[in-house]
Every structure is written in C-alpha cells, then in structure tokens.
Amino acid sequence: MNKPTLAPVAVLLVVLAVVPAFAANTTINFLVSALIVTLAAQGWNLLGGFCGPFSFGHAAFFGTGAYVTAVLQSRYGVNAWAGFAAGIAAGAVVGGAIGWLSFRAGLRGSYFALITLAFAEVFRIVANAVPLTGGATGLLLKLDVRPANFQFASRAAFAWIALGCVVAVLALSIAIARSRLGAQFAAVRENEDAARALGIDVLATKLRAICLSGAVTAAAGGLYAQYFLYLDANIAYGSWISVEALLAVIVGGIGTPAGPLFGALALHALGEATKLFAGAITGIDLVLFGLILVGAIAFAPAGIAGSLHSLSARWRR
C-alpha cells in the first residue's frame, strides 16, 4: 500500500476497534453490516481491482458462503465454525468453477460481467426452489448463544470478529500487492499478451484471483448468516450484494488494499444519512448509490484512497 494512505487506515482501524466497546446496539448493527460489505468488497477487489475481470455476480460467492455455513449447521449438525470454514472453501471452489468455465472460454470485459450475473441468478432461482435451502420461506438458524457455536451474547464480540476478518484480508491484500503474485495479477490486468510473453500463465493467474476472491466474499456471506441467523435466496444470492461489493470498491479506490474499507464505510454512512433525511421513502438511498457510482467514475476514478493519496502528496510538497 502507498505510505500516505497507511496512516488514515491505521487510525480508522483503531477507531473501529474501540467503538463497539461503548456503542449502542444500532451503531454496532451499522458497523457489522458495513464490515460484512467491506469483506465482500475486499473479495471483489482481489479479482476486479487486482487482476482485472469485473464481476457483476459476486452474490454467487456471498450466497454460497452463507448457505454452506447455515445448511451444514441446521441440517447436518456440523459445528458453526467448521461450517464457516467450509463455506469459505466452497466460495473458493465455486470461484474456481465459474472462473475455469468462463476464462477458458476466453470471456472478458462485459461478457465476463454478464456471465457472473447469470450464474448468480441461476443460483438464486435454484436456492429459491429447492428444499435444502428452505426454498422461498428461507432458513432460520437456531438461537444457541455459545462462543463455540459462533453466537455471542454481546454484539460487540461479533463486531470484533468481523473487524478481525477485515484486517486479516487487508493484511493479505497488502502482502499480495507487494509480492510476485500481485505483480502477476497487475500484469494480467494491464495486458494479457505482454504478461504471457513474460512467462505468466494467464489462466492460472486469473483462477488464483477468482478462487481467493470467492473465498473472501464467501466469508462475508458466512458472517452474515451467523449474525442475522436468517437467510433467503434474495438475501444470499440477491443482486444487492453484487452491487454493493462493486460499488464500495469503486468509491473507495479500485485496486488499493484499503479501498473497500473506505468505500463500504462511506456508502453505509451515506445510506444511513439519507434514511435519516428522506425517512420512509424506500429506495431513495439506492438512488443515491446509483448516482454516486456515476459521479465517482466521472469525477473521482481513483476513489477515496486515490484522493487521500494525492491530497497527502500535495501536503508534503
């Protein structure tokens, strides 16, 4: 990560770590939702920001993580933590499968965006229809508050776990950005032919990116299931999460390790603020999100992280 953005990120993380100890439940709810979206967005960023392919269907991974975590517990009596781990693995597998099919077929750009969207929709329709996932009525996880069961009496504990996941993936993203793998991702993103000529296996590199990405976004889904203890197909595989994951990255700063965190927090804060002002009008916050997406691309393509970077660079001079 660029040195100038490191300081604000550190400050932000400390604040986020301290807040749950004192905050009211509504604030913690807000924080947990924002952190879950951050995690999903971090997953999106590992693929779209680092390696290039834009997905419009990250719900496919989020939902898989959520359902595997929940179904293994409720139907097969698997321990919740084990279910969470299995959910993350399943996200990687689904990522690998979708990636293998579409990258091998040479799909890129808009085509890749569309096929990921279609996969997520197929998953949604199927999850809405089959009994395993509870069909249209959804899946309710039994309330059984024990840490060994990944359920906590205090919401703050959950917020810290979500924050822990976000920090872990942040560290992972920074490490990748500074490694050979990161250079290979960037090379594939910038120019596939040149990457090939320099000995990079483009297909394998993209598959690594999408597996990682799927796993991280699936972790977000698993957290969602454990926190809200309820899932249905429109939550788990709904387009809302595909959109928020992508939007948080674009607003926060695409391809930067801290971008998803900035973006998700800013968007959620904004969403709350609109709800405060526009009250009960449903959809008004999303209208704003849509316009922000357009505006971000028009006026701030580098996102919050990029603006911070150039701001602090100017400061030093």
């Binding site: 849509g290 316009l291 997406l293």
Partner: protein, 290 residues
C-alpha cells in the same frame, strides 16, 4: 397431455412474445453494434417506459397504442441526452467505465421508480388480456398479435432507416470505422447519442406493446434485460437480424420451457441457455463476429 395443438399454441405464443423480446433486444444490439458498449440501464429504461405507458393509459385514459408515438419521441430525446451528456462524458471513453456508469444509472432509475411508485405490481385496467382471436384450432391473444405485427414493422422500419437514410448511413459508417467516419466529417458523439436514442425509442414501443398483457413494477425490467442480453448474445452482438431471430427463438424456448418445466425453473432455463451460449458460442448462434 401435451397434444399437438397445445404445443403448437405454445410455439405460436412464444413467437408472438418473442417478437416483442426481439424489439427490446434490438435496442440493445443497436447500441452495442455502434458504440461497442453494453447498456446495462436498458432494463431500467424499459421499466421507465412501461410506467409511462401505464400512467398515460390508466391515468389519462389514453388508448394504450396511442401512447406509443409520443413516448417513442420522448425516449428518443431522453436516450440522446443520456448518452450525450451523461454516459459519454462520465465514461471517459473506457468500456469498463461505461458498463459501471450504466449500472449506476440502472440502480438510480429502478430505485427512483420504487420510491415514486412503491413495489406494487400494476396492470392496465380493462380486459385486453382476455381479448382473443380464434385462428383455426388455436386461441390467440389479440394484443399479442398486434404486438407481433408492430414489432416486426418497427424492425423493418429501423432496417430501412439504417439502409436508406443519411443518418442511417452515418450510423453504419461510425459502427464500422469510427476514426474514418470522424475524419469524413461525421460528428461521432452526435451519432452515438442518436443511436442510443433510437435504442431507447425501441424500448418505448416495446413498452406500449407489452403493457396490455403484462404488468409493471420497478424491477420488471431486470427480467427483460437478461432475456434481451441472451438474445443479443445468441444473435451475435451487434447483429440486427440476429436479434430478431434470437428473440423469436427465445420466445419459443421460454414458452415451451414454461409448458414442460413450470414457471420458475423455466426462468432458470433462460439463464442456463445464456451461460451455455456464452461458453460455447460467444460469437452467437448465427455466426456473426462478436
């Protein structure tokens, strides 16, 4: 039992619906063929047009087919303005950006409609949906027959416009060789916006044809847009005849799929078909180059 006449009726009904799908896809493929961008806001704009038809027809009591000409003109202008002053400048000429900008627009439009009209599903009052015509052993819906006729007519008109008029020639020139067209004195930004406007006008017509037998809610466009993408990919991105054939084919597939598999899985069938086409024949079934 699936008697031959039931199947034949499903096929014919599929063709009738397919023609309107084709019209939606036509707008999409036209924009892709000329601007080389995927307009992700296509579905949301269709929803918008359907609400407009509903408002004019149910609110003001206008005959639904009479709403089509003014709305087509309005959407032509709307599309022109969107591309010229919003999508074009905001994307900085980058395809990935265009995709995201149109995604942003679709989110804004869809939820704007949600805020304005709530999530309720609305249909036109009156019983146009039950107005049937007997054709041999088959009972066919009159509005769908009209829809088929008008959709085909519009497709032919569009083709004639592209083939015969100066504007059409300019559009084709830009589609083929943007740089050359620009050197020849064609205002590329104007042509882009015009093409986008034509694509939106197709949506207005499609909306007028759909409303008598269909419903509208703020999310209805999503279903259509994926169907339209499937058609466009099937027919070969940018190919006008491909969109027509693809539309008819998808209409029949959906109709037969619904007959044999039931509604909800029939819906998944479209996406699976879409995925298969992208994976196996990304250049389209009819072989046009992508």
């Amino acid at each position: 039992m699936y008697t031959p006449s039931i199947i034949a009726e499903a096929v014919v009904n599929g063709l009738l619906t397919g023609a309107v799908y084709a019209l939606v896809a036509l707008g999409l493929t036209l924009v892709y063929g000329v601007l080389h961008i995927i307009n992700f806001a296509h579905g949301a704009l269709l929803t918008c047009a359907m609400f407009a038809v509903w408002a004019l027809s149910d609110g003001l009591g206008l005959n639904v087919y009479l709403t089509i000409p003014p709305l087509a003109v309005l959407f032509l202008c709307l599309g022109y303005g969107l591309q010229r002053w919003v999508i074009g400048p905001a994307s900085h000429g980058d395809d990935g950006n265009t995709l995201l900008v149109t995604l942003g627009l679709s989110i804004a439009i869809e939820n704007g409609l949600l805020a304005a009209f709530h999530a309720d599903t609305r249909t036109l009052s009156g019983d146009a949906a039950f107005d049937v015509v007997e054709l041999g052993p088959m009972l066919l819906s009159r509005p769908r027959l009209i829809g088929f006729g008008v959709a085909v007519l519009v497709a032919v008109l569009l083709w004639a416009l592209l083939a015969g008029t100066d504007a059409g020639k300019a559009i084709r020139a830009v589609a083929k060789e943007k740089m050359g067209a620009s050197l020849a004195g064609i205002d590329v930004r104007h042509i882009y916006a015009l093409t986008f406007g034509l694509g939106c006008a197709c949506l207005a017509v499609a909306a007028g044809l759909l409303m008598p037998t269909f419903y509208v809610n703020p999310r209805v466009g999503n279903a259509f847009v994926l169907v339209a993408f499937t058609i466009v990919v099937l027919g070969g991105m940018g190919s006008v005849p491909g969109a027509l054939l693809g539309g008819l084919l998808i209409g029949v597939v959906e109709s037969l799929g619904g007959l044999f598999l039931g509604e909800s899985l029939g819906q998944a069938g479209i996406f699976v078909l879409f995925i298969l086409v992208l994976l196996l024949r990304p250049a389209g079934l009819f072989g046009a180059r992508a």
